[in-house]
């Protein structure tokens, strides 16, 4: 099954700036996830989003983060005031929509905070 697409592929921003990362579903899935992977480290869960609401979030997902589905299609992750330690790959993932466990990941956005 196809994954999701993500834009941009690479985002460079200055510390303190806001960034918006976008995830575009191939079809009308209900469950989406954002994960983060700091360079050389494991993939970490940030937040899950179901039916236009946050379903679950991790400790990493603090007040600096927010998620939206502003137009019913694109799914965004916003970081309000970026920090150096936010530099990472950010992956959007979707489930199969059937209640099964598999999650399929997008290609990711590399965020570099300078």
């Amino acid at each position: 099954e196809p994954e999701v697409t993500q834009t941009p592929s690479h985002q460079v921003t200055q510390m303190g700036q806001e960034v918006i990362l976008r995830c575009v579903p191939i079809s009308n899935h209900l469950y989406f996830y954002w994960y983060r992977q700091i360079l050389g480290q494991k993939v970490e869960f940030l937040v899950s989003f179901y039916n236009n609401e946050i379903s679950e979030k991790s400790e990493i997902f603090d007040d600096q983060f927010s998620v939206e589905r502003p137009d019913g299609s694109n799914f965004t992750l916003k970081i309000r005031s970026t920090k150096l330690e936010d530099s990472a790959m950010y992956f959007c993932a979707r489930d199969t929509g059937t209640g099964r466990h598999e999650q399929y990941f997008g290609p990711g956005t590399r965020l570099t905070v300078t």
Binding site: V43, E56, A93, T96, G99, H101, Q103, G106, G108
Partner: protein, 114 residues
């Protein structure tokens, strides 16, 4: 604490040989496990999964073995090819329902020597 981890950070194998990548988990309630392959600059790619009520599952050139007694998971790749070079992650879902976050291990880098 970390629930999922890996025994070996790197593994080098000759082309044509079989590869075995190991993973230990600590949560006995984990119900579902997935192996992902991540190539450089890309998102995790689903390889194979296994439920906790199984001890073996086979795919194309890959086999996943689950030993619940010692909480150990392994991925076996038959006739390893250069295209198998990547970082491999095990991930677990600690709840039996779908649509829940995955907990990833740290990853093992597989290098295939031609």
């Amino acid at each position: 604490g970390e629930s999922v981890g890996l025994h070996l950070p790197t593994l080098s194998v000759q082309e044509g040989d079989n590869s075995i990548i190991n993973c230990a988990y600590s949560n006995s309630a984990s119900d579902y496990f997935i192996w992902y392959k991540q190539e450089s600059g890309k998102g995790p790619q689903f390889i194979i999964d296994i439920r906790s009520n199984m001890d073996k599952r086979q795919g194309q050139r890959v086999t996943v073995l689950l030993n619940k007694t010692v909480k150990h998971l392994s991925l076996q790749i038959a006739a390893t090819q250069p295209g198998d070079s990547a970082v491999y992650f095990c991930a677990e879902n600690i709840r039996s329902s779908g649509n829940t976050p995955l907990v990833f291990g740290k990853g093992t880098r597989l290098s295939v020597i031609a």
